[in-house]
Symmetry: C2
Protein backbone atom coordinates (compact mmCIF):
# COMPACT_ATOMS: atom_id res chain seq x y z
CA UNK A 1 0.00 0.00 0.00
CA UNK A 2 1.20 3.48 -0.86
CA UNK A 3 1.44 5.52 2.33
CA UNK A 4 0.26 8.65 0.53
CA UNK A 5 -3.01 6.91 -0.03
CA UNK A 6 -4.26 6.99 3.57
CA UNK A 7 -7.81 8.34 3.16
CA UNK A 8 -9.02 7.99 6.71
CA UNK A 9 -7.13 8.58 9.94
CA UNK A 10 -8.52 7.23 13.19
CA UNK A 11 -7.20 7.90 16.68
CA UNK A 12 -8.26 5.76 19.62
CA UNK A 13 -7.28 3.33 22.33
CA UNK A 14 -5.47 0.05 21.85
CA UNK A 15 -5.93 -2.48 24.60
CA UNK A 16 -5.55 -6.03 25.75
CA UNK A 17 -8.91 -7.26 27.04
CA UNK A 18 -10.13 -10.01 29.34
CA UNK A 19 -13.80 -10.70 28.69
CA UNK A 20 -16.33 -12.87 30.50
CA UNK A 21 -19.64 -13.82 28.96
CA UNK A 22 -22.25 -16.30 30.13
CA UNK A 23 -20.50 -19.14 28.35
CA UNK A 24 -16.89 -18.06 27.96
CA UNK A 25 -13.98 -16.53 29.80
CA UNK A 26 -11.39 -15.20 27.39
CA UNK A 27 -8.07 -13.61 28.23
CA UNK A 28 -5.54 -11.43 26.39
CA UNK A 29 -7.69 -10.38 23.45
CA UNK A 30 -6.75 -7.59 21.06
CA UNK A 31 -9.13 -4.78 22.08
CA UNK A 32 -9.59 -1.05 22.53
CA UNK A 33 -11.53 1.20 20.18
CA UNK A 34 -8.83 1.53 17.50
CA UNK A 35 -8.40 -2.08 16.32
CA UNK A 36 -12.19 -2.39 15.93
CA UNK A 37 -12.71 0.95 14.19
CA UNK A 38 -9.74 0.70 11.84
CA UNK A 39 -10.33 -2.94 10.92
CA UNK A 40 -13.97 -2.11 10.14
CA UNK A 41 -12.93 0.94 8.10
CA UNK A 42 -10.30 -1.04 6.22
CA UNK A 43 -13.03 -3.04 4.46
CA UNK A 44 -13.77 0.19 2.58
CA UNK A 45 -10.71 2.42 2.43
CA UNK A 46 -7.02 2.87 3.27
CA UNK A 47 -7.04 3.60 6.96
CA UNK A 48 -4.28 4.83 9.22
CA UNK A 49 -4.27 4.10 12.96
CA UNK A 50 -3.00 6.54 15.60
CA UNK A 51 -2.47 5.05 19.03
CA UNK A 52 0.01 3.68 21.52
CA UNK A 53 1.05 0.26 22.83
CA UNK A 54 3.53 -0.90 25.44
CA UNK A 55 6.42 -3.33 25.05
CA UNK A 56 4.13 -6.17 26.16
CA UNK A 57 2.03 -5.81 23.00
CA UNK A 58 2.41 -9.11 21.13
CA UNK A 59 3.92 -9.01 17.68
CA UNK A 60 1.15 -11.40 16.62
CA UNK A 61 -1.46 -8.72 17.40
CA UNK A 62 0.25 -6.24 15.09
CA UNK A 63 0.47 -8.83 12.33
CA UNK A 64 -3.15 -9.77 12.70
CA UNK A 65 -4.23 -6.15 12.70
CA UNK A 66 -2.13 -5.39 9.62
CA UNK A 67 -3.75 -8.28 7.79
CA UNK A 68 -6.84 -6.07 7.39
CA UNK A 69 -4.72 -3.64 5.40
CA UNK A 70 -4.71 -1.09 8.21
CA UNK A 71 -1.67 1.22 8.21
CA UNK A 72 -0.04 1.04 11.62
CA UNK A 73 2.65 3.70 11.09
CA UNK A 74 0.79 5.91 13.59
CA UNK A 75 0.96 3.33 16.35
CA UNK A 76 3.73 4.22 18.80
CA UNK A 77 5.55 1.47 20.65
CA UNK A 78 6.80 2.74 24.03
CA UNK A 79 8.21 1.30 27.22
CA UNK A 80 5.58 0.19 29.70
CA UNK A 81 2.32 -1.78 29.76
CA UNK A 82 -0.38 -1.68 27.13
CA UNK A 83 -3.80 -0.39 28.23
CA UNK A 84 -5.74 -3.26 29.81
CA UNK A 85 -9.47 -3.60 30.22
CA UNK A 86 -11.49 -6.39 31.68
CA UNK A 87 -15.26 -6.72 31.71
CA UNK A 88 -18.11 -9.15 32.29
CA UNK A 89 -21.40 -9.22 30.40
CA UNK A 90 -24.78 -10.17 31.83
CA UNK A 91 -26.58 -13.19 30.38
CA UNK A 92 -28.35 -11.03 27.82
CA UNK A 93 -25.19 -9.43 26.46
CA UNK A 94 -26.53 -5.93 27.02
CA UNK A 95 -25.28 -4.72 30.38
CA UNK A 96 -21.63 -5.07 31.27
CA UNK A 97 -19.53 -4.54 34.33
CA UNK A 98 -16.00 -3.21 34.12
CA UNK A 99 -13.81 -5.38 36.31
CA UNK A 100 -10.48 -3.68 35.69
CA UNK A 101 -9.03 -0.68 33.84
CA UNK A 102 -5.26 -0.17 33.76
CA UNK A 103 -4.31 2.78 31.58
CA UNK A 104 -0.62 1.87 31.32
CA UNK A 105 1.12 3.70 28.47
CA UNK A 106 -2.24 5.16 27.41
CA UNK A 107 -2.00 7.52 30.39
CA UNK A 108 0.82 9.56 28.84
CA UNK A 109 -0.29 9.08 25.25
CA UNK A 110 0.53 11.97 22.95
CA UNK A 111 -0.70 11.16 19.44
CA UNK A 112 1.78 11.62 16.59
CA UNK A 113 0.56 11.80 13.02
CA UNK A 114 2.97 10.33 10.46
CA UNK A 115 3.56 12.73 7.57
CA UNK A 116 1.68 10.40 5.24
CA UNK A 117 -1.49 10.79 7.38
CA UNK A 118 -1.61 14.59 7.37
CA UNK A 119 -3.29 14.88 4.00
CA UNK A 120 -6.04 12.35 4.79
CA UNK A 121 -9.42 13.94 3.96
CA UNK A 122 -11.38 11.94 6.55
CA UNK A 123 -10.62 11.84 10.26
CA UNK A 124 -12.34 9.96 13.06
CA UNK A 125 -11.45 11.25 16.50
CA UNK A 126 -12.20 8.12 18.49
CA UNK A 127 -13.04 8.11 22.15
CA UNK A 128 -9.97 9.52 23.93
CA UNK A 129 -9.30 12.58 26.11
CA UNK A 130 -10.71 15.69 24.34
CA UNK A 131 -7.38 17.58 24.50
CA UNK A 132 -5.75 14.78 22.54
CA UNK A 133 -8.60 14.80 20.02
CA UNK A 134 -7.92 18.53 19.53
CA UNK A 135 -4.19 17.83 19.22
CA UNK A 136 -4.84 15.36 16.37
CA UNK A 137 -7.33 17.66 14.69
CA UNK A 138 -4.80 20.53 14.60
CA UNK A 139 -2.25 18.32 12.89
CA UNK A 140 -4.63 16.78 10.37
CA UNK A 141 -4.20 19.60 7.88
CA UNK A 142 -5.88 17.83 4.98
CA UNK A 143 -9.05 16.97 6.90
CA UNK A 144 -12.23 17.78 5.01
CA UNK A 145 -14.67 15.76 7.11
CA UNK A 146 -14.09 15.09 10.79
CA UNK A 147 -16.20 12.90 13.08
CA UNK A 148 -15.89 12.68 16.84
CA UNK A 149 -16.88 9.89 19.18
CA UNK A 150 -16.76 10.29 22.95
CA UNK A 151 -17.99 8.71 26.17
CA UNK A 152 -19.63 9.53 29.51
CA UNK A 153 -16.24 9.81 31.28
CA UNK A 154 -15.17 12.87 29.21
CA UNK A 155 -18.60 14.45 29.48
CA UNK A 156 -18.24 14.18 33.26
CA UNK A 157 -14.64 15.24 33.78
CA UNK A 158 -13.68 17.30 30.70
CA UNK A 159 -16.84 18.91 29.35
CA UNK A 160 -15.37 22.34 28.47
CA UNK A 161 -12.48 20.79 26.49
CA UNK A 162 -14.87 18.36 24.86
CA UNK A 163 -17.18 21.18 23.77
CA UNK A 164 -14.23 23.06 22.27
CA UNK A 165 -13.37 20.15 20.00
CA UNK A 166 -17.03 19.33 19.23
CA UNK A 167 -17.34 22.88 17.93
CA UNK A 168 -14.76 22.11 15.25
CA UNK A 169 -16.04 18.78 13.92
CA UNK A 170 -18.54 17.98 11.19
CA UNK A 171 -20.18 15.03 12.83
CA UNK A 172 -20.67 13.99 16.43
CA UNK A 173 -21.54 10.42 17.32
CA UNK A 174 -22.65 9.40 20.82
CA UNK A 175 -25.00 6.84 22.28
CA UNK A 176 -28.40 7.84 23.64
CA UNK A 177 -27.27 8.07 27.27
CA UNK A 178 -24.29 10.23 26.32
CA UNK A 179 -26.50 12.42 24.12
CA UNK A 180 -28.69 13.08 27.14
CA UNK A 181 -25.73 13.79 29.44
CA UNK A 182 -24.11 16.14 26.98
CA UNK A 183 -27.22 18.04 25.92
CA UNK A 184 -29.14 18.04 29.19
CA UNK A 185 -32.26 17.03 27.23
CA UNK A 186 -34.12 13.74 27.26
CA UNK A 187 -36.07 13.38 24.03
CA UNK A 188 -33.78 12.37 21.14
CA UNK A 189 -35.04 15.15 18.84
CA UNK A 190 -34.32 17.72 21.55
CA UNK A 191 -30.91 16.17 22.25
CA UNK A 192 -29.93 16.31 18.59
CA UNK A 193 -31.09 19.91 18.17
CA UNK A 194 -29.02 20.90 21.21
CA UNK A 195 -25.95 18.98 20.02
CA UNK A 196 -26.12 20.55 16.56
CA UNK A 197 -26.13 23.98 18.22
CA UNK A 198 -22.69 23.05 19.60
CA UNK A 199 -21.27 23.05 16.08
CA UNK A 200 -21.53 19.78 14.13
CA UNK A 201 -23.67 19.68 10.98
CA UNK A 202 -24.46 16.04 11.66
CA UNK A 203 -25.29 14.10 14.79
CA UNK A 204 -25.49 10.31 14.92
CA UNK A 205 -27.14 8.94 18.06
CA UNK A 206 -26.35 5.25 18.50
CA UNK A 207 -28.98 3.10 20.18
CA UNK A 208 -27.27 -0.30 20.24
CA UNK A 209 -29.61 -3.12 19.16
CA UNK A 210 -32.14 -0.45 18.12
CA UNK A 211 -29.88 1.09 15.49
CA UNK A 212 -29.11 4.79 15.25
CA UNK A 213 -30.59 8.14 14.32
CA UNK A 214 -28.86 10.52 11.92
CA UNK A 215 -29.75 14.17 12.27
CA UNK A 216 -28.90 16.88 9.77
CA UNK A 217 -30.51 20.01 8.40
CA UNK A 218 -32.17 17.70 5.88
CA UNK A 219 -34.04 15.87 8.62
CA UNK A 220 -33.83 12.53 10.37
CA UNK A 221 -32.74 9.12 9.10
CA UNK A 222 -33.84 6.16 11.19
CA UNK A 223 -30.99 3.68 10.74
CA UNK A 224 -31.80 0.10 11.69
CA UNK A 225 -29.48 -2.35 13.41
CA UNK A 226 -29.00 -5.63 11.56
CA UNK A 227 -30.72 -8.22 13.79
CA UNK A 228 -28.20 -10.76 15.09
CA UNK A 229 -29.29 -14.02 16.68
CA UNK A 230 -25.93 -15.08 17.99
CA UNK A 231 -24.19 -12.32 19.92
CA UNK A 232 -20.92 -13.80 21.15
CA UNK A 233 -19.24 -10.58 22.35
CA UNK A 234 -20.62 -7.05 21.88
CA UNK A 235 -17.31 -5.39 22.86
CA UNK A 236 -16.25 -2.89 20.22
CA UNK A 237 -19.57 -2.88 18.35
CA UNK A 238 -19.89 0.90 18.60
CA UNK A 239 -16.29 1.32 17.44
CA UNK A 240 -16.75 -1.00 14.47
CA UNK A 241 -19.93 0.91 13.66
CA UNK A 242 -18.18 4.29 13.68
CA UNK A 243 -15.18 2.94 11.79
CA UNK A 244 -17.20 1.28 9.04
CA UNK A 245 -19.35 4.41 8.73
CA UNK A 246 -16.33 6.65 8.19
CA UNK A 247 -14.59 4.07 6.03
CA UNK A 248 -17.52 3.93 3.65
CA UNK A 249 -17.75 7.75 3.50
CA UNK A 250 -14.01 8.00 2.78
CA UNK A 251 -14.37 5.45 0.00
CA UNK A 252 -17.23 7.48 -1.52
CA UNK A 253 -15.15 10.63 -1.12
CA UNK A 254 -18.18 12.90 -1.02
CA UNK A 255 -20.48 13.41 1.93
CA UNK A 256 -24.06 13.55 0.68
CA UNK A 257 -27.23 12.69 2.58
CA UNK A 258 -27.48 9.52 0.50
CA UNK A 259 -23.86 8.54 1.22
CA UNK A 260 -24.39 9.14 4.93
CA UNK A 261 -27.46 6.91 4.98
CA UNK A 262 -25.75 4.13 3.05
CA UNK A 263 -22.73 4.46 5.34
CA UNK A 264 -24.95 3.86 8.38
CA UNK A 265 -26.41 0.72 6.82
CA UNK A 266 -22.95 -0.63 6.01
CA UNK A 267 -21.94 0.25 9.57
CA UNK A 268 -24.83 -1.86 10.91
CA UNK A 269 -23.80 -4.75 8.74
CA UNK A 270 -20.14 -4.61 9.76
CA UNK A 271 -21.04 -4.25 13.46
CA UNK A 272 -23.39 -7.24 13.17
CA UNK A 273 -20.52 -9.43 11.96
CA UNK A 274 -18.23 -8.06 14.64
CA UNK A 275 -20.38 -9.15 17.57
CA UNK A 276 -20.59 -12.72 16.29
CA UNK A 277 -17.15 -13.43 17.70
CA UNK A 278 -14.55 -12.23 20.21
CA UNK A 279 -12.10 -9.45 19.37
CA UNK A 280 -11.57 -9.21 15.58
CA UNK A 281 -12.24 -12.93 15.01
CA UNK A 282 -15.23 -12.48 12.72
CA UNK A 283 -13.62 -9.75 10.64
CA UNK A 284 -10.69 -12.02 9.93
CA UNK A 285 -12.57 -14.37 7.66
CA UNK A 286 -15.13 -11.85 6.43
CA UNK A 287 -15.35 -11.45 2.68
CA UNK A 288 -16.79 -8.44 0.92
CA UNK A 289 -19.36 -10.66 -0.80
CA UNK A 290 -20.76 -11.55 2.65
CA UNK A 291 -20.99 -7.86 3.54
CA UNK A 292 -22.88 -7.15 0.32
CA UNK A 293 -25.22 -10.08 0.93
CA UNK A 294 -26.11 -8.87 4.42
CA UNK A 295 -26.48 -5.31 3.12
CA UNK A 296 -29.06 -6.53 0.60
CA UNK A 297 -30.92 -8.36 3.36
CA UNK A 298 -30.93 -5.23 5.51
CA UNK A 299 -32.26 -3.12 2.65
CA UNK A 300 -35.11 -5.61 2.26
CA UNK A 301 -35.87 -5.37 5.97
CA UNK A 302 -36.51 -1.64 5.74
CA UNK A 303 -38.17 -1.31 2.35
CA UNK A 304 -41.93 -1.11 2.07
CA UNK B 1 -73.20 3.84 8.57
CA UNK B 2 -74.62 0.54 7.43
CA UNK B 3 -74.19 -2.02 10.23
CA UNK B 4 -73.48 -4.80 7.73
CA UNK B 5 -70.40 -2.89 6.73
CA UNK B 6 -68.39 -3.49 9.90
CA UNK B 7 -65.04 -4.67 8.51
CA UNK B 8 -63.08 -4.87 11.71
CA UNK B 9 -64.20 -6.00 15.15
CA UNK B 10 -62.11 -5.16 18.19
CA UNK B 11 -62.64 -6.42 21.72
CA UNK B 12 -60.91 -4.75 24.65
CA UNK B 13 -61.23 -2.82 27.88
CA UNK B 14 -63.03 0.47 28.35
CA UNK B 15 -61.92 2.53 31.30
CA UNK B 16 -61.97 5.82 33.07
CA UNK B 17 -58.39 6.90 33.76
CA UNK B 18 -56.63 9.25 36.13
CA UNK B 19 -53.19 10.12 34.81
CA UNK B 20 -50.29 12.00 36.34
CA UNK B 21 -47.38 13.26 34.28
CA UNK B 22 -44.54 15.57 35.21
CA UNK B 23 -46.58 18.63 34.34
CA UNK B 24 -50.21 17.56 34.59
CA UNK B 25 -52.66 15.70 36.76
CA UNK B 26 -55.75 14.73 34.79
CA UNK B 27 -58.84 12.96 36.11
CA UNK B 28 -61.73 11.06 34.55
CA UNK B 29 -60.33 10.54 31.07
CA UNK B 30 -61.82 8.16 28.53
CA UNK B 31 -59.34 5.28 28.52
CA UNK B 32 -58.86 1.52 28.27
CA UNK B 33 -57.52 -0.28 25.20
CA UNK B 34 -60.76 -0.24 23.18
CA UNK B 35 -61.37 3.51 22.71
CA UNK B 36 -57.76 3.95 21.56
CA UNK B 37 -57.69 0.95 19.23
CA UNK B 38 -61.12 1.51 17.66
CA UNK B 39 -60.69 5.27 17.23
CA UNK B 40 -57.32 4.64 15.54
CA UNK B 41 -58.82 1.94 13.31
CA UNK B 42 -61.78 4.14 12.41
CA UNK B 43 -59.49 6.45 10.42
CA UNK B 44 -59.23 3.59 7.94
CA UNK B 45 -62.29 1.35 8.12
CA UNK B 46 -65.68 0.70 9.67
CA UNK B 47 -64.87 -0.61 13.09
CA UNK B 48 -67.10 -2.24 15.68
CA UNK B 49 -66.25 -2.12 19.40
CA UNK B 50 -66.94 -4.98 21.83
CA UNK B 51 -66.67 -4.05 25.49
CA UNK B 52 -68.52 -3.16 28.66
CA UNK B 53 -69.16 -0.02 30.71
CA UNK B 54 -70.97 0.66 33.96
CA UNK B 55 -73.82 3.05 34.62
CA UNK B 56 -71.30 5.73 35.63
CA UNK B 57 -69.96 5.92 32.07
CA UNK B 58 -70.68 9.47 30.88
CA UNK B 59 -72.95 9.90 27.88
CA UNK B 60 -70.45 12.50 26.63
CA UNK B 61 -67.76 9.76 26.36
CA UNK B 62 -69.97 7.65 24.10
CA UNK B 63 -70.80 10.65 21.91
CA UNK B 64 -67.16 11.59 21.63
CA UNK B 65 -66.17 8.04 20.80
CA UNK B 66 -68.90 7.73 18.19
CA UNK B 67 -67.69 10.92 16.54
CA UNK B 68 -64.80 8.86 15.11
CA UNK B 69 -67.35 6.74 13.26
CA UNK B 70 -66.78 3.77 15.57
CA UNK B 71 -69.78 1.45 15.87
CA UNK B 72 -70.63 1.04 19.55
CA UNK B 73 -73.40 -1.56 19.22
CA UNK B 74 -71.08 -4.10 20.84
CA UNK B 75 -70.59 -2.00 23.96
CA UNK B 76 -72.74 -3.32 26.78
CA UNK B 77 -74.07 -0.94 29.41
CA UNK B 78 -74.53 -2.76 32.72
CA UNK B 79 -75.18 -1.88 36.35
CA UNK B 80 -72.02 -1.12 38.32
CA UNK B 81 -68.82 0.86 37.98
CA UNK B 82 -66.77 1.23 34.84
CA UNK B 83 -63.21 -0.16 34.94
CA UNK B 84 -60.93 2.46 36.48
CA UNK B 85 -57.20 2.80 36.09
CA UNK B 86 -54.84 5.35 37.49
CA UNK B 87 -51.16 5.75 36.75
CA UNK B 88 -48.22 8.09 37.06
CA UNK B 89 -45.43 8.53 34.52
CA UNK B 90 -41.82 9.31 35.31
CA UNK B 91 -40.34 12.54 34.00
CA UNK B 92 -39.22 10.86 30.80
CA UNK B 93 -42.63 9.45 29.91
CA UNK B 94 -41.27 5.94 29.59
CA UNK B 95 -41.75 4.16 32.90
CA UNK B 96 -45.09 4.29 34.64
CA UNK B 97 -46.45 3.23 37.97
CA UNK B 98 -49.97 1.89 38.33
CA UNK B 99 -51.57 3.64 41.28
CA UNK B 100 -54.99 2.00 41.13
CA UNK B 101 -56.86 -0.68 39.20
CA UNK B 102 -60.58 -1.25 39.87
CA UNK B 103 -62.02 -3.82 37.52
CA UNK B 104 -65.67 -2.94 38.24
CA UNK B 105 -68.04 -4.33 35.58
CA UNK B 106 -65.02 -5.53 33.59
CA UNK B 107 -64.63 -8.35 36.14
CA UNK B 108 -67.76 -10.16 34.94
CA UNK B 109 -67.48 -9.09 31.32
CA UNK B 110 -68.84 -11.58 28.83
CA UNK B 111 -68.41 -10.19 25.30
CA UNK B 112 -71.49 -10.22 23.05
CA UNK B 113 -71.09 -9.82 19.31
CA UNK B 114 -73.96 -8.00 17.62
CA UNK B 115 -75.23 -9.92 14.58
CA UNK B 116 -73.86 -7.22 12.30
CA UNK B 117 -70.31 -7.89 13.58
CA UNK B 118 -70.25 -11.62 12.95
CA UNK B 119 -69.36 -11.33 9.28
CA UNK B 120 -66.48 -8.93 9.82
CA UNK B 121 -63.40 -10.30 8.02
CA UNK B 122 -60.88 -8.70 10.39
CA UNK B 123 -60.80 -9.22 14.14
CA UNK B 124 -58.47 -7.77 16.76
CA UNK B 125 -58.60 -9.62 20.07
CA UNK B 126 -57.40 -6.83 22.32
CA UNK B 127 -55.76 -7.41 25.63
CA UNK B 128 -58.39 -9.15 27.82
CA UNK B 129 -58.61 -12.53 29.58
CA UNK B 130 -57.68 -15.27 27.04
CA UNK B 131 -60.92 -17.22 27.64
CA UNK B 132 -62.88 -14.17 26.56
CA UNK B 133 -60.69 -13.73 23.50
CA UNK B 134 -61.53 -17.34 22.59
CA UNK B 135 -65.21 -16.67 23.23
CA UNK B 136 -65.16 -13.77 20.75
CA UNK B 137 -63.15 -15.72 18.20
CA UNK B 138 -65.69 -18.59 18.23
CA UNK B 139 -68.51 -16.17 17.49
CA UNK B 140 -66.71 -14.21 14.77
CA UNK B 141 -67.73 -16.62 12.04
CA UNK B 142 -66.69 -14.36 9.16
CA UNK B 143 -63.17 -13.75 10.46
CA UNK B 144 -60.49 -14.20 7.80
CA UNK B 145 -57.62 -12.49 9.60
CA UNK B 146 -57.36 -12.43 13.37
CA UNK B 147 -54.77 -10.61 15.44
CA UNK B 148 -54.24 -11.01 19.17
CA UNK B 149 -52.71 -8.61 21.66
CA UNK B 150 -52.02 -9.61 25.24
CA UNK B 151 -50.05 -8.55 28.32
CA UNK B 152 -47.75 -9.86 31.04
CA UNK B 153 -50.66 -10.49 33.45
CA UNK B 154 -52.23 -13.17 31.21
CA UNK B 155 -48.85 -14.73 30.43
CA UNK B 156 -48.36 -15.09 34.19
CA UNK B 157 -51.78 -16.28 35.32
CA UNK B 158 -53.41 -17.84 32.24
CA UNK B 159 -50.66 -19.14 29.99
CA UNK B 160 -52.34 -22.41 28.92
CA UNK B 161 -55.57 -20.62 27.91
CA UNK B 162 -53.56 -17.92 26.19
CA UNK B 163 -51.60 -20.49 24.19
CA UNK B 164 -54.85 -22.15 23.09
CA UNK B 165 -56.13 -18.94 21.57
CA UNK B 166 -52.72 -17.92 20.15
CA UNK B 167 -52.77 -21.22 18.26
CA UNK B 168 -55.85 -20.07 16.37
CA UNK B 169 -54.85 -16.55 15.35
CA UNK B 170 -52.99 -15.28 12.29
CA UNK B 171 -50.97 -12.59 13.99
CA UNK B 172 -49.69 -12.15 17.52
CA UNK B 173 -48.60 -8.76 18.76
CA UNK B 174 -46.73 -8.28 22.03
CA UNK B 175 -44.06 -5.95 23.34
CA UNK B 176 -40.47 -7.09 23.74
CA UNK B 177 -40.78 -7.93 27.45
CA UNK B 178 -43.92 -9.97 26.84
CA UNK B 179 -42.29 -11.72 23.88
CA UNK B 180 -39.49 -12.82 26.20
CA UNK B 181 -41.88 -13.95 28.95
CA UNK B 182 -44.05 -15.90 26.56
CA UNK B 183 -41.28 -17.54 24.54
CA UNK B 184 -38.69 -18.05 27.26
CA UNK B 185 -36.07 -16.67 24.87
CA UNK B 186 -34.19 -13.41 25.02
CA UNK B 187 -33.00 -12.48 21.55
CA UNK B 188 -35.84 -11.07 19.42
CA UNK B 189 -35.17 -13.41 16.48
CA UNK B 190 -35.33 -16.41 18.83
CA UNK B 191 -38.47 -15.05 20.51
CA UNK B 192 -40.22 -14.60 17.18
CA UNK B 193 -39.26 -18.07 15.93
CA UNK B 194 -40.62 -19.58 19.14
CA UNK B 195 -43.86 -17.56 19.00
CA UNK B 196 -44.46 -18.53 15.37
CA UNK B 197 -44.15 -22.17 16.41
CA UNK B 198 -47.18 -21.56 18.66
CA UNK B 199 -49.35 -21.01 15.59
CA UNK B 200 -49.45 -17.46 14.18
CA UNK B 201 -48.07 -16.82 10.70
CA UNK B 202 -47.07 -13.32 11.76
CA UNK B 203 -45.55 -11.89 14.90
CA UNK B 204 -45.26 -8.17 15.60
CA UNK B 205 -42.94 -7.30 18.48
CA UNK B 206 -43.55 -3.75 19.67
CA UNK B 207 -40.56 -1.85 21.07
CA UNK B 208 -42.17 1.47 22.04
CA UNK B 209 -40.07 4.45 20.95
CA UNK B 210 -37.87 2.04 18.96
CA UNK B 211 -40.68 0.90 16.67
CA UNK B 212 -41.57 -2.71 16.00
CA UNK B 213 -40.38 -5.84 14.25
CA UNK B 214 -42.64 -7.83 11.93
CA UNK B 215 -41.75 -11.48 11.48
CA UNK B 216 -43.18 -13.77 8.83
CA UNK B 217 -41.98 -16.61 6.64
CA UNK B 218 -40.85 -13.88 4.26
CA UNK B 219 -38.40 -12.47 6.77
CA UNK B 220 -38.17 -9.47 9.04
CA UNK B 221 -39.45 -5.94 8.61
CA UNK B 222 -37.87 -3.33 10.85
CA UNK B 223 -40.70 -0.86 11.43
CA UNK B 224 -39.64 2.54 12.75
CA UNK B 225 -41.47 4.62 15.31
CA UNK B 226 -42.28 8.15 14.17
CA UNK B 227 -40.07 10.39 16.36
CA UNK B 228 -42.19 12.64 18.57
CA UNK B 229 -40.70 15.61 20.40
CA UNK B 230 -43.68 16.40 22.55
CA UNK B 231 -44.99 13.32 24.33
CA UNK B 232 -47.90 14.52 26.48
CA UNK B 233 -49.32 11.13 27.49
CA UNK B 234 -48.15 7.75 26.16
CA UNK B 235 -51.18 5.88 27.57
CA UNK B 236 -52.85 3.82 24.85
CA UNK B 237 -50.03 4.19 22.32
CA UNK B 238 -49.73 0.42 21.88
CA UNK B 239 -53.50 0.13 21.50
CA UNK B 240 -53.67 2.90 18.91
CA UNK B 241 -50.79 1.20 17.12
CA UNK B 242 -52.55 -2.18 16.97
CA UNK B 243 -55.88 -0.57 16.04
CA UNK B 244 -54.47 1.52 13.20
CA UNK B 245 -52.50 -1.47 11.94
CA UNK B 246 -55.61 -3.66 11.73
CA UNK B 247 -57.74 -0.78 10.45
CA UNK B 248 -55.40 -0.22 7.53
CA UNK B 249 -55.27 -3.95 6.72
CA UNK B 250 -59.07 -4.15 6.81
CA UNK B 251 -59.31 -1.19 4.47
CA UNK B 252 -56.89 -2.88 2.06
CA UNK B 253 -58.89 -6.10 2.39
CA UNK B 254 -55.95 -8.30 1.46
CA UNK B 255 -53.05 -9.24 3.71
CA UNK B 256 -49.85 -9.12 1.69
CA UNK B 257 -46.33 -8.51 2.97
CA UNK B 258 -46.48 -5.04 1.42
CA UNK B 259 -49.83 -4.25 3.05
CA UNK B 260 -48.52 -5.43 6.42
CA UNK B 261 -45.47 -3.19 6.15
CA UNK B 262 -47.51 -0.17 5.12
CA UNK B 263 -49.95 -0.91 7.93
CA UNK B 264 -47.11 -0.77 10.46
CA UNK B 265 -45.98 2.60 9.16
CA UNK B 266 -49.50 4.01 9.36
CA UNK B 267 -49.72 2.55 12.84
CA UNK B 268 -46.56 4.47 13.85
CA UNK B 269 -47.99 7.66 12.44
CA UNK B 270 -51.34 7.29 14.22
CA UNK B 271 -49.67 6.36 17.51
CA UNK B 272 -47.38 9.39 17.21
CA UNK B 273 -50.40 11.69 17.02
CA UNK B 274 -52.07 9.87 19.89
CA UNK B 275 -49.29 10.51 22.41
CA UNK B 276 -49.30 14.24 21.71
CA UNK B 277 -52.35 14.66 23.93
CA UNK B 278 -54.32 13.02 26.73
CA UNK B 279 -56.96 10.37 26.00
CA UNK B 280 -58.34 10.72 22.46
CA UNK B 281 -57.73 14.50 22.36
CA UNK B 282 -55.33 14.49 19.43
CA UNK B 283 -57.40 12.10 17.34
CA UNK B 284 -60.38 14.40 17.66
CA UNK B 285 -59.02 17.13 15.42
CA UNK B 286 -56.84 14.87 13.28
CA UNK B 287 -57.44 15.07 9.55
CA UNK B 288 -56.48 12.41 7.06
CA UNK B 289 -54.31 14.91 5.19
CA UNK B 290 -52.17 15.27 8.35
CA UNK B 291 -51.82 11.51 8.56
CA UNK B 292 -50.69 11.35 4.94
CA UNK B 293 -48.21 14.18 5.48
CA UNK B 294 -46.61 12.45 8.45
CA UNK B 295 -46.62 9.15 6.54
CA UNK B 296 -44.61 10.80 3.74
CA UNK B 297 -42.16 12.20 6.29
CA UNK B 298 -41.75 8.77 7.86
CA UNK B 299 -41.10 7.17 4.47
CA UNK B 300 -38.37 9.74 3.88
CA UNK B 301 -36.83 8.92 7.26
CA UNK B 302 -36.32 5.29 6.29
CA UNK B 303 -35.44 5.53 2.62
CA UNK B 304 -31.83 5.45 1.52
Amino acid sequence: MNKQDVKLVIVGSIGIDDIKTRTEDRKDLLGGSLPFSTAAASFFTNTGAVGVVGDDFPESFSKRWQSFGTDLDGVQHVTGSTFRWSGAYDDNMIERETLKTELGVFEDFKPILPVSYKKAPFVLLGNIQPELQMHVLRRAKGARFVALDTMNLWIEIAKPALKRVIKKVDLLTVNDGEARMLSGKYNMLDCAAELMKMGPSYVVIKRGEHGALLFSKRGVFIAPAFPVDNVVDPTGAGDSYAGAFMGYLAQRGRVSEKALREALLYASVIASFGVEGFSLDCFETLKFSQIERRMKKLLKMISV
